[in-house]
């Protein structure tokens, strides 16, 4: 096994010192001289026309410096998500939003905004804005929204309230496959609206210079694409806009791929009107109701198998709730289908899916991006199939999972898989053999064990535009500067990418510093999303570091009078490898003759030597990533309280094939966090609506996310099936912890109590009702 100095090591995060000492700066902390505070007036109606809006009262309030409405802000359509910057032709991005419109389409939609000398004054001013609404009919369910009676939320060419295109993924011959299957199971599932609840709410500070240049500090996960969006909205060239994180971001989980809801454009619009810097920070309630959620909706799975257990056909359908604006609603149903179909070797497949507009909070990207919806449904059906065939669900999965080189529906190769090993190690951790032997007659609390598996992507190519650039520059003292345009939203980017550089260059990690998440100081990068940063940005960073290394060695070859191939770098010292000098030297003739005076030089000395001769080593990496599948198997042990319906997850064994783990501690952290978010998705997290379209869960207390007291034991197991396309063999891991969790929990609940729920979250009410129904049947 190859050994590395920095890659694969559990080095301490480079951002830890600032974050632990309380000096790390986030957007919500950011202040500028003369800065104003912006607050947003939001619609109380789920659908209404704004007949009249009178801002004169607000404008007169002392301390108010600007009021923005649809009347005095750009009428340029956009999409808050980065899809408008990376939709691949021939698809067209859906642009269906203005900063403010004269129609509001969900409770929380933006109506106006105020900039004032304090948050209090801005909030007072909002109360003085008089808005006359003409309420319009509203619809909240995606199936109802397609019906002829439903109101039109946006005009759509594809079908009633259907944004973008219908996604169809054909593979093999589905009709033939189903006809040839011995056993067919078809089930319908309902999945909830989940919220990211990243700890830092959406925020932006905008400054418009006297020269017209715009600077925006914000919570975006994608500064470069965000700059493109702002450029279109405000008609200002890319080159005159700077978007950056300051540099830390309090979590993301997909909620700000593109703009941070509308924090950036509202801050910029107010700053232009007030001619002063403006800070917009969403309250937690605003973050809940007016910032993208995970897509809820409906998933149907029809699985056909041969008698021997070989899966033969799978037909899937996904109808998702887009909410009031498109955001990522064209892409999410596609990922739902593509990832769902990619897990098992099934010769005949077909997927049909799309989103539907409703008068609810827009749905967008959230960790897993359609995949958790798919795998809750598929893994439930696979368990049902195992029962019907009389097979062990683990054996059934092992029999059918993808292998390297198998044909599949994805437009790139299945180039690695450690899924079988994930299943084996996860099963060992949970004690799979205990399954079915955990309860005694008369037990009120029933235990069960279930499993779920899945795959995902390591970036968005070729589904979306996806490329990376990076610079590695050797400073005149031999220390190293890396520039890459990806944020660190907490996933450790600003540590793992420098780890790559240190490894390739042969320098200590403390010699490397990194500029990130800033359009002014970094080359274009798509950003931190789609589990891509380590894999895709990492590929560019490795390429840049290799380029710099080559320049160093070429220069050192002249300096040491050896061939560059005869040199290596360790601890910032370039030295002649092998027999150093004399007849056995592998290097140049001069060296072989013993003419080289020295056998090593420090990078510090060499960089300064070069500097005095007008040269700097500057490595450039410009790449389009390949793609690679990470794999995962989760095993849940649960306890179902038959008297209350309460489900508790006791333990989750989560085995993940992440390729090479560049920083194993960071990888474990990604898995553990994803697992707990998945447990919330399975058991408790959901935003529901009342009949007036109001979000019933609009605060952390009302929205039941897991706390430290709710967490199960989590065994994060790393499996390293290195992928030939990844940097040092790495694959994505950011989203995978969530993907198979709900399916594993639902299967464990069935194993414990014999109830099969096809709708998550598995709340005590639903579980209790199912237990009652089961008793009734018995």
């Amino acid at each position: 096994m190859s050994s590395f100095n920095v890659v694969g090591q559990n080095v301490r995060r480079l951002d830890a010192v600032e974050k632990a000492s309380g000096t790390a700066v986030f957007s919500t902390d950011f202040k500028l001289p003369g800065m104003l505070y912006g607050k947003v007036l939001r619609s109380p109606y789920p659908h209404a026309r704004i007949v009249n809006i009178d801002t004169s009262g607000a404008e007169k309030l002392p301390g108010v410096k600007a009021v923005a409405t649809h009347k005095n802000t750009p009428r340029e359509k956009f999409n808050t998500s980065a899809t408008m910057t990376f939709t691949v032709p021939t698809y067209e991005p859906v642009l269906d939003q203005y900063i403010f419109d004269n129609v509001v389409r969900y409770v929380g939609d933006e109506v106006a905004a105020v900039a004032a000398v304090s948050e209090q004054v801005a909030e007072e001013a909002l109360k003085l804005i008089r808005v006359e609404y003409e309420p319009l009919p509203a619809v909240f369910d995606p199936l109802e929204a397609m019906s002829p009676e439903a109101p039109v939320i946006h005009e759509c060419a594809t079908g009633k309230n259907i944004p973008g295109e219908i996604i169809r993924i054909p593979f093999g011959d589905i009709e033939k496959g189903l006809a040839e299957s011995d056993v067919i199971i078809e089930e319908h599932f309902k999945v909830p609206v989940q919220k990211q609840v990243q700890m830092e709410t959406q925020a932006a500070v905008a400054q418009v210079g006297a020269d017209g240049k715009i600077t925006v500090w914000s919570t975006t996960q994608t500064p470069h694409p965000s700059r493109m969006i702002l450029s279109k909205v405000f008609g200002v060239p890319h080159s005159k806009i700077r978007v950056l994180n300051p540099p830390y971001v309090g979590g993301g989980f997909g909620v700000r791929i593109g703009l941070s809801a509308k924090a950036e454009p509202i801050a910029v619009a107010l700053a232009m009107l007030a001619r002063k810097p403006v800070k917009v920070v969403y309250s937690r309630k605003e973050d809940f109701i007016a910032s993208d959620t995970r897509h809820g909706g409906y998933v149907t799975v029809k699985l056909g198998a041969r008698k021997d257990g070989a899966f033969h056909a799978i037909q899937m359908k996904g109808i998702l709730n887009a909410g009031a604006y498109c955001s990522f609603s064209c892409e999410t149903p596609g990922v739902l289908g593509a990832m769902g179909l990619a897990v098992y070797r099934i010769p005949h497949q077909y997927y049909y899916g799309h989103s539907v507009y409703t008068n609810t909070t827009p749905s967008g990207a959230m960790r897993g991006f359609g995949n958790p919806q798919a795998m809750f449904a598929i893994e439930s059906v696979v368990d049902m199939m195992a029962e019907k065939l009389g097979m062990d669900p683990l054996e059934l999965r092992l029999k059918n999972i993808m292998r390297v080189g198998d044909p599949w529906c994805l437009p790139y190769k299945c180039s690695s898989t450690g899924l079988a090993q994930c299943i084996e190690r996860g099963a060992r951790s949970i004690g799979w053999e205990r399954r079915g032997k955990l309860n005694r007659p008369g037990d009120k609390k029933l235990r069960g064990i279930g499993m779920g598996v899945g795959t995902h992507v390591s970036n968005a190519w070729p589904f979306c535009v996806d490329y990376d650039n990076a610079y590695v520059t050797i400073q005149q003292d031999g220390s190293v500067h890396l520039a890459a345009g990806v944020p660190d939203i907490g996933t450790g980017t600003s540590t793992t990418l420098p780890q790559f550089v240190a490894e390739v260059l042969g320098v200590r990690l403390d010699q490397v510093s990194m500029a990130f998440a800033d359009t002014l100081t970094t080359p274009f990068d798509i950003g931190s999303h789609a589990s891509r940063t380590c894999y895709a940005a990492g590929t560019a960073v490795v390429a840049a570091a290799r380029d710099a290394r080559k320049q160093i060695l070429d220069y050192a070859a002249d300096f040491l009078k050896v061939a560059p191939e005869g040199l290596d770098i360790k601890d910032s010292v370039i030295y002649v490898t092998g027999p150093n000098v004399g007849a056995e030297c592998a290097g140049t003739g001069v060296c072989r003759a013993g003419g080289g005076e020295r056998t090593s030089v420090t990078l510090k000395e060499l960089a300064y030597h070069a500097h005095l001769r007008n040269k700097q080593f500057i490595g450039v990496g410009r790449i389009v990533p390949d793609n690679a599948p990470p794999w995962h198997a989760h095993f849940a042990e649960v306890e179902v309280d038959t008297e209350t319906g309460q489900v508790r997850v006791i333990k989750m064994a989560a085995a993940h094939d992440v390729g090479k783990a560049i920083n194993p501690g960071i990888v474990e952290g990604q898995i553990e966090g994803g697992v707990l978010m998945g447990v919330g998705y399975a058991l408790s997290e959901e935003i529901r609506y009342d009949e007036k379209g109001r979000q019933l869960q609009d605060s952390i207390h009302k929205y039941m996310l897991p706390t430290a007291e709710d967490r199960p034991e989590i065994d994060a197991i790393i499996v390293e099936a290195e992928d030939p396309t990844g940097p040092f063999g790495a694959k994505g891991v950011g989203e995978t912890g969530l993907v198979p969790t709900a399916g594993a929990v639902a299967n464990a609940v069935y194993n414990a109590a014999g109830i099969r729920l096809k709708e998550i979250p598995l709340t005590p009410e639903k579980v209790f009702r199912a237990l009652q129904e089961k008793r009734g049947e018995a």
Partner: protein
């Protein structure tokens, strides 16, 4: 609006600042005294990011009217340690991967410190209870709990060391 002079001890230093009756402690600490380590994640006492220690107790500073801190001793993340000498909790959070996005970190450390200041040998339940009001969406709390235990161990060892020194 009428302002009053709030006098309190902040991180060991006598501090005076003019506040109005509606000001909350979190805003005074962050906006007036510029200690941004104390974070604001909800403003309603639901997330724990603004946790500080007041007279030995962990409190959500977004729920404390600033004037309530009159005469009190308040500790924030900036006051417990820094690069010259980190608190054992800060050390263990850094070393054991308990920090991801970092937004919950100061509050999480302050809640943990309030616990360990009183009970340097807590059970798992006690640790979980102490940080139950601190939401972390990144870590799944696994490495945070490990870090609190590691810090407790270090603090116990330091305590033994101090006791020994006092004996001699």
């Amino acid at each position: 609006m009428t302002t009053k002079l709030l006098k309190f001890t902040l991180n060991g230093e006598m501090t005076e600042v003019a506040v109005s009756p509606s000001d909350m402690l979190v805003d005074v600490i962050r906006d007036r005294l510029n200690l941004i380590g104390t974070k604001k994640g909800c403003g309603k006492g639901e997330c724990g990011a603004c946790t500080v220690i007041m007279n030995g107790e962990a409190v959500n500073s977004c729920l404390v009217p600033a004037m309530k801190a009159m005469g009190a001793a308040v500790e924030t993340i900036e006051g417990i340690g820094g690069p010259e000498k980190f608190h054992p909790l800060q050390e263990s959070f850094m070393d054991l991967g308990a920090i991801q996005c970092g937004f919950c970190t100061p509050g999480m450390i302050m809640s943990s410190k309030a616990l360990l200041d009183k009970n340097v040998n807590p059970t798992s339940e006690e640790v979980r209870e102490a940080i139950a009001g601190n939401i972390c969406r990144c870590t799944g709390y696994v490495k945070i709990e490990e870090a609190v235990f590691a810090a407790a161990k270090k603090m116990r060892e330091n305590q033994i060391g101090r006791d020994r020194n006092e004996q001699f």
